[in-house]
């Protein structure tokens, strides 16, 4: 499935980022963290990508930079999906939040922050969502052992 939109996107979205690849019907861009927010703004305003589907991260432990933050967008008008990927390091795993652009970003970024410790600059509500206050560590990081036990939370009466 190739769409004429994909060619336009490939040439125009982020020319500096190099060629985009087509992976199983989804156009994939690899961006620098600083290019992310402007690229998403253009996706939303100029190319009608109106649904922010998903954000998650992949922990490539041992590689530098360590984390790959993966975004999926869908355009209900063109009926295509785009994936944006950006790499952030372990020392400062921060990317710009998409909360100003999409409402759905708030919850999904909270989950990604829970699981990987990615900090989304501009999302001022990064409270735990699937975990709880007082959870130590980020469970989906590869160096978090599956059998890890959490400090016992005292019984609340």
């Amino acid at each position: 499935m190739t769409s004429p939109l994909f060619e336009t996107l490939q040439q125009e979205l982020v020319p500096a980022a190099g060629p985009a690849t087509l992976s199983h019907g989804i156009l994939v861009f690899v961006l620098e963290p600083t290019e992310l927010l402007p690229a998403v703004q253009r996706l939303q305003r100029e190319f009608a990508f109106d649904i922010f589907l998903d954000v998650t991260a992949v922990d490539w432990i041992g590689q530098l930079p360590r984390f790959e933050v993966v975004y999926h967008f869908y355009s209900t008008m063109h009926r295509v999906r785009v994936r944006l990927k950006t790499r952030v390091g372990e020392a400062d795993p921060g990317v710009d939040s998409l909360v100003p652009l999409y409402g759905s970003a708030a919850f999904m970024e909270r989950e990604c922050h829970d699981m990987y410790g990615i900090r989304f600059r501009g999302n001022d509500d990064l409270r735990p969502i699937l975990l709880y206050e007082g959870f130590v560590g980020h469970p989906l990081r590869k160096d978090y052992p599956k059998q890890q036990e959490q400090p016992l939370v005292p019984y609340r009466s």
Partner: protein, 405 residues
């Protein structure tokens, strides 16, 4: 006195908006909400001023657990995401792995998966509607719908061996073929379904109490729905015909004739009606599929993922080794990443899979519609009565297993 313990959930409402407003805590275990979700609501009398929705009470580390099992072993886990329509989870996950492996499933498997996806959608909508109606006191409608659903559960048990979590999908195919007489019984169930759903329509559709509770309650606009990532029934209830089965056809949907029902204003009543209409469309599709169903194998002939026949495993060494390798090492999925999206009864169910070329996934991420929908639930709760939280929450159809993973 000891220092106060931190609350497991920190509310964003540190101060109340007004002097006379009250902050109450609803859930996580409340008899009127099906699902463990906590809603911290600020009330002005009976009116909800603002809400803070918390999920995560059913979090069980699905994605972490996936990274420690072979690709095949995950199928029972994905079943337990949306446990009301487990088959769609199976098929969406298997579709993602098949994309990575470059496998084309057999025609019979493709049509069977489509048929069973629609069957699952039917069961899911029946459950959601029944629960939603029961919460409003419509016990008769609840019993009618759940009775039909139970026929379907038993019928699916005849095929898969389980009533709810089927573990029926396989990478490259299905667990087993249809048993004798299964389609005949399906047609009988359709007749009973039509009888009882007609009675529910008659009881509920123009019922004054029902309309007063549902109409203009929990309204969401199209713009908000899109911004908050809503898909599926809730987006369609706002009047937008967006359905992945039509827009990006997968399985056999491009060959089927069906309508995409939409609502007019995105309130609870529209969501009720869209679900009722979608069930009829599902039946229409399944009847087409019953006629189209071709003969042939259900599993692809690919030794990377399909298990050899059991008699061969016991009689020849190659099949024995093949079986052993598939069980112990898992199927060899080429390195890469894939995102497979299926239209689940709640919305877009996506699986983002990353493989490094081994028998175990490097990462499995589930884009759960329920979770995304919870992110915008406050839009549908704020400004209405406290008692409206129950039907609105019911019409969002949050499934804890999928939301919290």
């Amino acid at each position: 006195m000891d220092t106060p313990l931190p609350n497991p959930v920190r509310s964003i409402f540190e101060k109340s908006l007004r002097d006379d407003s009250v902050i109450v805590n609803i859930g996580p275990s409340h008899p009127a909400t099906h699902g463990t979700v906590q809603i911290i609501a600020e009330l002005d009398g009976e009116r909800v001023l603002r809400t803070d929705v918390h999920c995560g009470y059913l979090h069980r580390g699905f994605e972490k657990e996936c990274e420690d099992h072979t690709w095949h072993n995950l199928i029972p886990y994905v079943d337990r995401l949306n446990y009301v329509s487990a088959l769609i989870n199976d098929f969406a996950y298997c579709d993602g792995v098949e994309q990575l492996m470059g496998i084309q499933i057999t025609p019979r498997c493709r049509y069977l998966r489509t048929l069973l996806s629609e069957y699952s959608r039917l069961v899911d909508h029946l459950t959601c509607l029944a629960a939603g109606l029961m919460e409003l006191g419509a016990m008769t409608a609840f019993l009618y719908l759940v009775m039909i659903r139970d026929y379907m559960y038993e019928h699916l048990a005849a095929l898969t061996g389980a009533r709810v979590t089927y573990t029926y999908g396989r990478i490259g195919g299905l667990a087993r073929d249809l048993p004798e007489g299964w389609l005949t019984r399906l047609e009988e169930i359709f007749v009973q379904y039509e009888d009882f759903v007609a009675r529910v329509h008659a009881l509920v559709d123009r019922n004054r109490i029902f309309i007063d509770r549902m109409r203009d309650v929990g309204v969401i606009s199209t713009a908000d729905a899109l911004s908050y990532g809503y898909t599926g029934v809730i987006l369609r209830s706002t009047g937008v015909p967006r359905d992945l089965r039509k827009d990006t056809p997968y399985l056999a949907y491009s060959e089927l004739d069906f309508d995409v029902p939409v609502g007019i204003k995105g309130d609870n009543y529209d969501r009720y009606f869209v679900r009722m209409r979608e069930m009829d469309e599902s039946i229409y599709m399944m009847r087409q599929l019953m006629d189209m169903l071709p003969d042939g194998p259900i599993n692809v002939d690919d030794r990377r993922c399909s298990f050899p026949d059991k008699p061969l495993v016991y009689s020849e060494i190659e099949s024995l080794i093949n079986h052993f390798k598939l069980v112990m090492d898992g199927p060899n999925v080429p390195a890469g990443e894939a995102y497979s999206a299926h239209e689940s009864p709640n919305g877009e169910l996506g699986f983002y899979l990353v493989s490094t070329g081994s028998g175990t996934p490097y990462k499995v991420h589930c884009r759960a519609p329920s979770f995304v929908h919870m992110g915008g639930a406050h839009l549908m709760l704020n400004g209405y009565q406290l008692a409206d939280i129950v039907p609105t929450f019911g019409s969002i159809n949050m499934i804890g297993g999928e939301c919290d993973r």
